[in-house]
Structures are given as structure tokens and as C-alpha cells.
Amino acid sequence: MALICGWGRFPAVDTDLLTPRSFDAVGDAIAATSGGIARGNGRAYGDAGIGVSQTIAMTGFDRVRSFDPATGRVRLEAGVLLSDLIDTFGPRGFLPYVVPGTRFVSVGGAIAADVHGKNHHCEGGFGRYVDSILLRTGTGETIEVSHEANPEVFLATIGGMGLTGVILEATLRLRPVETGWIRERVISASDLHAAMRALDAGDSATYSVAWIDCVARGSDLGRSLIYLGEHARASELSDGTEAFPRGRDPRLTVPIDLPSMTLNRFSVRAFNELYYRMGARRAGGSHLVSIFPYFFPLDGVGAWNRIYGRRGFLQHQCVIPQDGALAVLGDILDRVSRRGDASFLTVLKKLGQGDGLMSFPMPGYTLALDFPVTGSIMNFVDEIDRLVVAAGGRLYLAKDARQSRATFEAGYPALQRFKEIRASLDPTGKIRSKLSQRLFDEVRP
């Protein structure tokens, strides 16, 4: 038995941790389990990567099967990390089309959560660039799924949180790039309305995201810095600049759990004030940034989840449909700023249509908040959930640890179809996670 938790360190659950070394051993693990789930690099925040009774570690499967330098098509095992993919193929002129805020996620995890990046509004999610998936199902079969073969299972697997089976391998299309640099433009917005308008105006930019000062109140509510970005061409680099900057290991690692009082309304306020002012000073012109700080700002600090102390933290990420989003987001931000203890880094961005049956994205705005786990936090986020449900929005499963069944069911209308597909692949319920148990597995006597 091992005590396993997600990146948010809440909840921590005792399950068997299995480390199979071959695909056959993965099959044996599934055959023997009474409720198991595959786990990649453990970057899901909540309970998505924790099995009901067994958790199957997949990071040992990290081989690249084949790569075509003419097309950028790569076949690889599911445990390869995006960081590894970037380090290996970046210098050869290819990057993943979609990356989330950390590069330390596995390919299998990125597919299972259909992760989105700063380009979702125009280029879609990770799953859009997956050509096919090798899946080991609950019945013990190994099947290849794609838009042509088993298309329904394919679309249920993208964003399916690993619940259609264990993802063993996948074929991805990579993006041809000339450099590992992004031409970034920063815009400062004085309030939420301006921030949303700036994101709308940035629709044609490949990458766009807003950082929100969630402590600001009143007329400053929602004041933001908006970051737009484009891949830099080789001709844009000055002489002597390395075309592919190297991704460094975190320069600073948080060595211990910080006392929970480190983050309080004063320190967060001071940090946010400084961050906003420094960003606002850079606003206007454009400059080149390496892909690493651009895409993965928090990867610069190792084990940053420890900043929140031993009790862990909750990440809350919702998406609100376009219509009426301004009022709902304003209401949420107002409650958060009045509470005052939240969000080291609050992020707002636009999403487009999701590709998978259970993919999180829908056209609208997504807001990501962090809260340290404290006594009163659960009631507070429940309150936010009610606003999200009323607005027709939903929560991101890769970050969820506590939403209610009702919130979940209201947000994911394709659930019934997903359950049917799962039942056909896994009639005896071998593949189950703490997340599925919490949100939608049939309650067994």
C-alpha cells in the first residue's frame, strides 16, 4: 500500500501502487484489480490519478517508437513526459501543438485530460493532434482507436480521464517550428471588462492568456496583464541567439512545506501589486521569450505545491459560456477578492470547443484559482460552483478534488453516453478512479 495524492496534495489515499514493466504486465494488473486507474506523472491536482484499490504507474513506459522528421508524426509510449518530448524534438524543429501550464505531464495524462493551452481558442486541445491511441480495456483487450477505428471510443478516451482503459501508446502530430522562442506582447487591462475585451481582441493571436490580480477590488476588480504570443521565426532572432534555448531544471526548489501562514492576504496582496506593476511597465512593445518561462512559468520553482503548506491546496478551474460571462466572472472575482486569501496566480483565458466527449473546454472564458485548504474553503468553493452551474459552465476534472455529483452532472451533458461506452468496454468495472467513484460510478452495495 502507498499513500498517494495528486499535485494539490488533497486528498491523500491509500492504494496499491503497481509499476508494470511490460504491456502484458499492465494487462495482468487490470485483470487482477477490483478498481484501478493508470497514473502518469501525478500532475492531476485531485483524485483523477488515484485508483479505487490499485494505481498503475505508467512513467516507466517512456520509449519513442518512431518519428518521421518529414511530417513530425511521432509514435510513443504513454509515459513519455512533454518535457522529454520538447527536449528531444524541439532542437529537431518540432514541438507539441498544445502544452498546459506545466511540462511535467505524461502524454497519456495529457490525452486523458485533453489538456488545453494558451492556444485553445484557435487551435483546440491536446486531443486534436492525436491520430490514434493504443488502449488496454477493462476486458483485457488491446485495441487501436482513432477517427477511423472505434471513433466513439477514441473520442471518449480524449478527455476521458483514463476511464475507457489504460492508454499504452499514441501517435501525435507535432508542430513544425523554426525556433524555441515566442514573440510576446503584454497588454495591461485596468478591470475585468477591459481584460475580457483584450482577450477578445487577441482572438487572432496564437497564444493568449490573462493573469488577474484577484486581490484588487472595487473599480480595480479584475485588473490584468494579458500575454499574447506567436512562435518566433529564425529570422527574428538576433545573431548568436541559440535557436532552441535549453529548458533548465528548476533553479529554486521549495525544500519543505511552508507554514500555512506564509500565504496570507498581506503577502498575496504585496506580491500581486508588484507583479502587476512590473508587468504594466513592460506593456506595449513586443519582445522574445523562451518557450520555457512563456509556457511553464511555475516549472521554474520545483515542488511549488509546498508553498501552500502541509494541508495542501485546492485548484478551482471553471469555464463559463460566452454569454453573460462578464457578470458571472465579476461576481466570482468579487467574492474571491473579498475573501482575500486566494490565488497565488489567477489565470483567465478563452476556450474554444472541446474535441472529446468529456473534454472540459467549451466556448467561453476559463478562470483558474488556487486556495489553500482551510476550514472554511469547502463551503466557499461550493458557493462558486453554484454560480458556475447557474451560468451553464463546468469544472475541469484534472484539477477537481471535491465538486459534487450534481455540479458535475449539470456541467457534462455527455455523461450518459460516456457511461454506456465505458460499460461496453469494461462491464465488470475494472477501471475506476477515486474521481469516478466520487462523481459517477454506480454506487455498489
Partner: protein, 246 residues
């Protein structure tokens, strides 16, 4: 013909073996992977080729089958520039205390086999006048402990062999590296209680091995902390040491 340098990795299917092969391949070296089951190495050879566009071949090698060593070396498509032995067997100390055969297998896997095969390559490299030999030994060889002295003594023998070989070959242009990884999170140590700050991941060992070859380092403690730890452990008087539960 290509002019890329070649590294031979003995024990190529182990976690450290795979990581070492990647560290060399990343720098543009061709790789020969050797292990008990050559077929099982093919996905790793394909991985190296796909990632780094280098040539990778697979070869059957059994460290206990010393009679096959001469043919193994002769059968390689090319004499490598560097040979790395990662072969080893932790085994079970408790079983080894009761079963001679298990104890002998641990001794032969960690000392006899690796020493003989590297000795063979040393002759070839001396004849050519160049080459590097890397032996992965262990901090466990620095002092015999109650909990794993069968393994530790074999590693001690291997370390002594490497140090003597180094002294002999250094004048002939052949460099010998002794690597002492300490705790590494691998299949071998799965389920063991490892001390976090003293534990490294396999790729760190691979990069350390590549760096030691490039810089011609003699003895490498992969995590510098181990050098200090072992300095203290080696300095303890025997009368104290034997009373420690350790």
C-alpha cells in the same frame, strides 16, 4: 561509413543502462545495447534511433556466461570507443547467507563477470591505443555492512579491479572510470526505503557517466553527498561499526 563514436552498454535493459545509452545518443554517439535478451532491447534501440537519429544495435550478452566473452567481443560489428558495464545483481543477503548458489551468483554477477569482460576490452583498447572503460560499482563496496555484505564485497572487488586497471592502462591512453551511484530510483531498488536527499533518478546517473567519460574523471560519486557519507562511514573504527544496526 559514418565516423560517429560508439558506446557499448552492457546491461542495456536496466534503467541506468537505458539512461546511459540516451545520454550518449543525445550527444550524437552510436549505441550498441547488450543484454541477456537481445530481442527485449529492440524497443530501446528503436527509441534511440527515433529520438536522436543515431544507429543503435542490439547484442546478446550474459554476464554469467564467461566462456562466451571472447566470441562476444569478436562478434561486435565494431570495436566501441567506450564500454560501460551496468551489469549487477542486488540479490538477497538473507538468502545468500543460507544458499551458496545464490551467494555465488551475486558475487559472479557483480565482480567476476564485469571484471573479466572489461579486462578483455582493456586489452583491445590498449592495442588500439584509445578507449574508455566505465564500471558501475557501488558505495556498498566502500565498507561491508551486515545488511548486504555479499553484494558489497563483490562491488568492493570490482572497485579494486577498476582502480588497478586504471593505474595500468592510463599510460596506454585508456581511461577507466569507477561510478558509485548511491541510491538510484530503479527497478532494482523498487519497494526499498530510499533516503530522499541521497537518491537520484537514472538519467542523472546516465549524464554523470557521459560527463565522466568526456572529462576523464576517475571516480564518480553521482551524488556528491555520498562522498561525504562514505568518508565518515569508512572512518568509523571497526569496534564502533560492528555495533551499528546498519
Amino acid at each position: 561509413m559514418n565516423s560517429r563514436k560508439i558506446v557499448l552498454v552492457l546491461g542495456g535493459s536496466s534503467d541506468i543502462g537505458r539512461a546511459t545509452a540516451r545520454s550518449f545518443a543525445k550527444a550524437g554517439w552510436d549505441v550498441q545495447l547488450a543484454g541477456r535478451e537481445a530481442v527485449a532491447l529492440e524497443p530501446d534501440a528503436a527509441d534511440l534511433h527515433a529520438r536522436y537519429d543515431i544507429n543503435a544495435s542490439t547484442h546478446r550478452f550474459d554476464v554469467l556466461d564467461t566462456a562466451s566473452f571472447v566470441d562476444f567481443v569478436a562478434g561486435l560489428p565494431a570495436l566501441p570507443d567506450v564500454v560501460v558495464s551496468i551489469v549487477g545483481l542486488l540479490g538477497s543477503q538473507q538468502t545468500a547467507e543460507r544458499e551458496l548458489e545464490h551467494a555465488a551468483t551475486i558475487m559472479r554477477s557483480n565482480y567476476e563477470g564485469p571484471a573479466l569482460i572489461l579486462g578483455l576490452f582493456a586489452e583491445k583498447f590498449l592495442a588500439r591505443g584509445s578507449g574508455s572503460i566505465v564500471g558501475v560499482s557501488s558505495v556498498a563496496g566502500d565498507r561491508g555492512r551486515a545488511s548486504n555484505y555479499v553484494y558489497g564485497s563483490a562491488k568492493a572487488g570490482f572497485s579494486a579491479f577498476l582502480s588497478g586497471l586504471r593505474a595500468r592502462t592510463s599510460r596506454g591512453g585508456v581511461h577507466v572510470v569507477t561510478v558509485k551511484p548511491g541510491f538510484v530510483r530503479t527497478r532494482m531498488t523498487e519497494g526499498m526505503k530510499l533516503i530522499g536527499p541521497l537518491t537520484v533518478e537514472a538519467p542523472v546517473v546516465g549524464d554523470a557517466i557521459f560527463g565522466a567519460v568526456e572529462r576523464r574523471t576517475d571516480v564518480v560519486y553521482v551524488s556528491g553527498k555520498w562522498r561525504l557519507v562514505m568518508l565518515i562511514i569508512k572512518a568509523l573504527p571497526e569496534a564502533v561499526f560492528k555495533k551499528l544496526k546498519f
